[in-house]
Structure formats: C-alpha cells, structure tokens
C-alpha cells in the first residue's frame, strides 16, 4: 500500500513538474512560431532568453517586484527582437547564421553584465504558487482548489506566469486563425509576393512578429530565472532556446502543436530529474541526454512538414522572383 502511494506521488510530481517546466518553452516557442509563420527563422532566441533572464532577475533582485522584472525582460527581449528584425528583414542577412550571432551576443552580454553587476550567484523569489483559495464571508475555513486530491496538485498550484503561458496558446490560435492580423501573417509567410500585391507590408508584418517573438523570448528567460529556478548564472539556458525553436517545427507551426511538443519535452525532462532524485540506475549523464535525443527524433519525424511556411528564411524584395 505504501509503495503504491509513493508511485502515485512520483507520477503526480512528474506531471506537476512537467506542466511547470514547460513554461519557458511555451513562451519562447509561441513567440518564435509567429515569427516563423511570417517567414523569419530566429535562432537568436537562446541569446534573447539569456539577456531576458538576466535583466529580469536583476530587476527583481534590486526591487523585489516580480512584475517589474518580467516587464524589464519583455522590454529587453523586444529590443533584441528589433535587432534581429533589422538584420534579417532590412539587411536580408542569412537567417540561420545571424541567429547564431545574436545568440553569441546574448550569451556574452548576459554573462558580462552578470559578472560586473552581480558577481555571484544569489537567489530571488518569484511569484508564489497560486493556491486558488476561496473563503466565504462569515465562515472561518478557507477552501483551496490546490488541495483537491490529484487534480489540485497537478493543475491548480502553479505560478501565475505558468497560467499565462498556457492561456497564450488559445489566444495565439485565435489570433492566427480568426483575425485579420493572423491572415496577414500566414499570407506573408506562405506567399509574400501575393500579400505585397494586395498592399500588405511584408516587412512590417515580419518586424512585428519578430519583435513580439523577442519580447516573449525575454519573458521566457525571465520565467526561468525568476520563477522556475530563482537564480541566475552564466549560460543559464544551456540550449533551451534552440530546443524552443525546434519545437515550432515539431508542433507543425500551430499553437496547439507547440504546446503538445513543449509538454512532451518538459515531461521527459522532469522524468529525468525525478529519476535522479530516486537514484534510478540510469547514469545522470545519459538521462540528461534524453531531451536532446528526443528533439532530434522529433525533428526527423515526417509529420506536418507540409505545414512549413513556404517563405521561411527567404527575405522579401519587391520585384525579385
């Protein structure tokens, strides 16, 4: 009987972690998805996340206010998104390489600022977990949704940033599928000449999606340093940004697909973490490898390749066909 309970606790723990750990992937991937749908591949997400995670952390460290931290991260992320937009859309640079350059830049800047402004690893407190507690007037006890067995622990006890991340999925789907903006984004990514011939400004649409993508990558980074880990160190993300880009491919460029991919990925990661805690016989080094192997396998699957925006990585110039 006791063993069953422990197994149950482990499964619940994995699921809770899985949902929680998906948060940075969700922000970063959804943002990247918009950019890619409009035809721009931004591999600088890794660098933007690092810069966002540092700035977010630093502002919370100085002010104690997580909202300010996330705002700062969003702002800085948008700036870096703007830089990427200028390089990719206006200068029409090779998008894969410029993304790597931006990531290097972001790694350097975040590490440099960390060393000079903070110096050592400290902790901050992010948002506390929401408990969804209600108390009725007059009655003494409070009822918390998070204390509902099973469901409570998995679904109802995450931080507000996590809830926002998941809420963004249907919002993104709505924007993409049911608004004039979404229509323009899709058209620009699939046939920019056609969109241009109808008066849609291809470059403006791409600027906006890339800047928004940067903003969300900044928040993603901050969610890592402020909410999930509560610390910052050099190269905190260690590849999460690149995985987030890969998740867009894996998710077939759709918000729900991206969410499925993020959940799958983070659940595997969380299983690996729990595996270490439980001293399972798998060497930790091998377990850490799993998410990366999984990503390669996911990339190799032939599903949904047809959904790739036809103009992805191709800069647009009027008159050049």
């Amino acid at each position: 009987m006791n063993e069953n309970l422990t197994a149950m606790a482990i499964v619940l723990g994995i699921m809770h972690s899985g949902i929680r750990l998906a948060t940075p992937y969700l922000y970063a991937s959804l943002g990247e998805m918009f950019g890619q749908r409009s035809g721009v591949l931004n591999l600088g997400v890794e660098g933007i996340m690092l810069v966002g995670s540092f700035f977010g952390f630093y502002v919370v460290f100085e002010t104690g206010n997580p909202w300010l931290g996330f705002a700062a991260a969003a702002f800085v992320g948008a700036l870096m998104g703007l830089l990427m937009a200028v390089v990719s859309v206006t200068f029409k640079a090779e998008q894969g390489i410029s993304g790597i350059g931006l990531s290097l830049f972001g790694l350097g800047v975040s590490s440099l600022l960390f060393k000079t402004m903070l110096g050592s690893v400290e902790g901050v407190e992010g948002f506390s977990e929401l408990k969804f507690c209600f108390s009725s007037i007059g009655i003494d006890s409070t009822f918390c949704l998070s204390e509902v067995p099973v469901a409570g622990e998995i679904v109802f006890s995450h931080s507000v940033m996590t809830y926002i991340a998941y809420a963004l999925v249907p919002i993104a789907a709505y924007v993409l599928g049911r608004t004039t903006w979404g229509l323009r984004i899709k058209a620009v990514g699939q046939n920019p000449e056609a969109a241009d011939s109808l008066g849609v400004s291809v470059n403006l649409v791409r600027y906006i999606t890339v800047i928004v993508g940067g903003l969300m990558a900044g928040i993603a980074g901050a969610s890592l340093s402020i909410s999930l880990l509560g610390v910052f160190q050099e190269n905190l993300t260690n590849g999460i940004g690149f995985i987030a880009v890969a998740l867009v491919y894996f998710g077939g460029w759709s918000p729900w697909g991206v969410m499925a991919g993020a959940l799958l990925f983070s659940t595997v990661s969380s299983m690996q973490l729990w595996g270490q805690v439980l001293n399972l016989p798998i060497p930790s080094d091998v377990a850490v490898m799993l998410p990366y192997v999984l990503t390669i396998v996911a990339l190799a699957l032939p599903i949904r390749r047809a959904a790739q925006p036809a103009a992805l990585t191709k800069p647009f110039t009027r008159g050049e066909n």
Partner: protein, 417 residues
C-alpha cells in the same frame, strides 16, 4: 571600370569594417564599465602579439580555429550549416584520448600519433554524418540537429570521463575529477622547440644576440614554448583544402550542390551524397582539431566544454570573416586567436571579464552577414553586351581565382530545411 574596382575593394573590406564596428561597440561597453577602451585594447594586442608566450598562445589557439573553420567552410560551400563543430571536436578528442592511452605504451610514438589523428578525424566525421544524413534524406534542419548533437557529445564526454575513461589515479585518490589519464609522452606532438633541437638550434635569443621583436619571434620558434607542430599540419591542410575545392571534380560537385541543388540534380550529381559528404568533411576537420588539441596541448582529456573552448562557434566566425576561402581563413584564424588570447590578457590588465570577447564575436557575425546585402546587390548587376569587358572575374563569384562568396540567401535558404 572604376565603379567595379571600388565595389571589389568594398567587398574585401567588409569583414574588416565588421570587426572594427564590433570593436567600437566593445569600446562603448568598456566605457560603460569605466574602463579606457584604448588601454584595454592595447593590453589585448600586446598580450597576444608582441611577446613570445603571447604569440605562442595565439598560434596554439589558431590551430584548432583554423581546422574548425576549414571544416565549416567546406560545409558551407556544400550548402550545409555546421554548428556541430563543438560536439565533433569533443568526440574526436575522446577517441584520440582513448586510443592514445590504450596504444601509447605498446606501439611506436609516431604510429600512435597517426592512428590517433586518423581516429579523431573519422570520429568527428561520423558525428557529423548523422545530421548530414538526416538533412539529406529527411530535410531535417541541420542547425538544430547539430546543436543537439553538441549537447549529446558533452554528456557522453562526462559519462566516459566519470566512468570508463577516468584516470586511475583519480580513482585511487578517491577525488573523482572527470579527467582521463595523461597520455604517454611518446604521443606528444613535437613542439617547435623540439624541432629546433633536431635542427641543431638550441641557443636562446639572448645568446644569439637578438633583441626586441626579433628576439620574441626567435624565442617563439626555438625556445621552449607551448607552440606545437599541429600548426604546421593545419596550415598544410588549408592549402590542400584549396586544391580540393577548386581543382578536383569532387570539390566541383560540392560547390555545385552548395550553389544550386536543382541544377546539380539535373546534371546527374547525387545531391544527397554530397550533402552528407560536405557535412562529414566538416566533422572530420573538427574531430581532427580535437585530436590535435589532445596530442599537442593538453595530453589528456578533461571537461568537454573546456577542451572545445567554444572553438565550434568561434570557428564559424573565423570562416565567415575569411570569406569561406581556405587561404584567407589562415590570417582570419590568426586574428581571432589573437582576439581570444588578448581577451584573457585584457581581463588581467583592466579587470573586464573575458566574455566581452564573446560579445564581440557575436557582433562580428551579425555585422558580416548584414553587410552581405552590399555584396549581393552589386553582384547581380547584368553586363550589357556593349560595355567594355571588366577586368578579371567578379569577386562575388565562386571561382577559385578570388575570394569566394558566402552562401547566398537562395542556396543556403534551400539548405535550411
């Protein structure tokens, strides 16, 4: 005519302008840190280029940079973007270490060195062949797959170094630091000072009556420094790569596939095969770099990311800066090696963290690829039939007589899945 010459000049200057611009941004950052940029940059330059140990460090760093960049350049010319040099280098270093430790005592030194070098190179090639295959047959984006392979290689490295390949001395001492045993001395690549000894030169610079910079250079080549013959191997290979790409049929095909997959198919070239080959060659050079780092410099394997030291990424910068052409990559490698070594010296001199160099590297990449627009705009000018012929080939073209063009948007865009 003058306009053409002007653009050709501009073309050639672009990387330098990019570096200057990146250094300017770096200067701004230094100013924000209350540091005098001139002092900092002076410390950098002096540290890297004016004394024999600095020069030795620079040349020692230039070796893996040159090799990685050669591999990256071949891959780019074949239309594949190899970001996996870090992992390929690590895998090559791991196999070299294993072979060196196992065989070093039982076989003659030069033979072991040869086996290790070949093994490291092939291992790196194998590590790159998988992403190459995935790209060729399944259209998988090679940037993403090679980045993943990097991470996997790092983990494999840790696993082996904590387990089967750990230094027995560590086990005995119970400290558990993840590094291998020291390779037998017979496997050390000869250093320049060793070669000088064989040639009969053993006097020091002082004894020779030299002073100033000449003394430093003499000391570099003759006195005991870290400078090892891996540099010679790398330089020879650079020349061979040039011959390979522009003077052989295989090189022709690699370049054709990199420029235009469709036309290559129509010409009967097996595009898949050459994509895989380009990627594999990229890995071969990175693996060789790892091998040489072990045999020439470290003589044991330790923390994987410390061995690869970011060469997988800085090698890309070196390749881009060097016009993706093996001969111009040589000075490019020297420059960036100097930057890396200088960064360390600068940190000691003005207490600005070395990671500033990473910032500068990232900016150089951004600026170089942004400036590409100038190159491409000019390069698509049509020649009117009645114009007098411009002198010589267009430098934006992929002919072997001038510096080659970077992967154009069209072709590398095709190369990205």
């Amino acid at each position: 005519m003058r306009r053409i010459k002007f653009y050709r000049l501009l073309d050639g200057l672009v990387p330098f302008i990019a570096v200057a611009a990146a250094l300017a941004v770096g200067a701004i950052i230094l100013l924000l840190q209350d540091t005098n940029p001139l002092t900092a940059y002076e410390a950098m330059f002096k540290g890297a280029f004016t004394n024999k140990n600095g020069l030795a460090d620079t040349l020692v760093k230039a070796t893996p940079l040159l090799l990685v960049a050669l591999g990256v350049a071949i891959a780019f010319r074949g239309g594949v973007i190899n970001i996996g040099a870090e992992g390929q280098l690590i895998m090559g270093a791991l196999l070299t270490t294993y072979l060196g430790v196992e065989l070093g005592d039982s076989l003659p030194g030069p033979l072991v060195i040869l086996v290790c070098l070949l093994g490291g190179a092939l291992m790196g090639g194998a590590w790159a062949a998988l992403p190459g295959y995935l790209k060729a047959k399944m259209g998988v984006n090679e940037i993403l797959s090679t980045i993943m392979m990097n991470q996997i290689a790092i983990q494999i490295g840790f696993f082996l170094l904590r387990g089967p390949m750990i230094d027995p001395a560590e086990l005995a001492a119970g400290t558990g630091i993840p590094h291998s045993a020291r390779l037998p001395n017979t496997t050390d690549l000869p250093r320049f000072t060793d070669i000088a000894g064989w040639l009969g030169l053993s006097k020091s610079a002082e004894e020779m009556g030299l002073s100033g910079f000449a003394a430093e250079v003499y000391g570099l080549l003759v006195e005991p420094t870290r400078l090892h013959s891996g540099l010679i191997i790398a330089a020879i290979l650079a020349v061979l790569v040039y011959i390979f790409l522009w003077r052989t049929t295989i090189g022709y095909r690699i370049r054709a596939v990199g420029q235009n997959q469709a036309a290559s198919r129509y010409a009967g070239i097996n595009v898949s095969r050459y994509i895989i080959l380009s990627m594999t060659l990229g890995g071969v050079f990175a693996g060789l770099a790892g091998s040489i780092e072990i045999l020439g410099l470290h003589h044991r394997m330790f923390e994987p990311t410390a061995v690869s030291a970011g060469y997988g990424f800085s090698g890309i910068v070196v390749a881009l800066f060097g016009f993706l052409h093996p001969l111009t990559i040589i000075p490019s490698a020297l420059l960036f090696a100097g930057l890396l070594v200088g960064g360390d010296k600068m940190q000691r001199a003005v207490q600005v963290p070395q990671v500033l160099i990473t910032v500068i590297l990232g900016l150089v990449v951004l600026f170089v690829v942004s400036a590409d627009i100038l190159v491409r705009r000019r390069a698509t000018r049509r020649v009117s039939v009645d114009e007098p012929s411009p002198p010589g080939p267009d430098p934006g073209a992929d002919t072997g007589t001038g510096p080659g063009a970077g992967p154009g948007t069209g072709t590398t865009a095709e190369a990205i899945s």
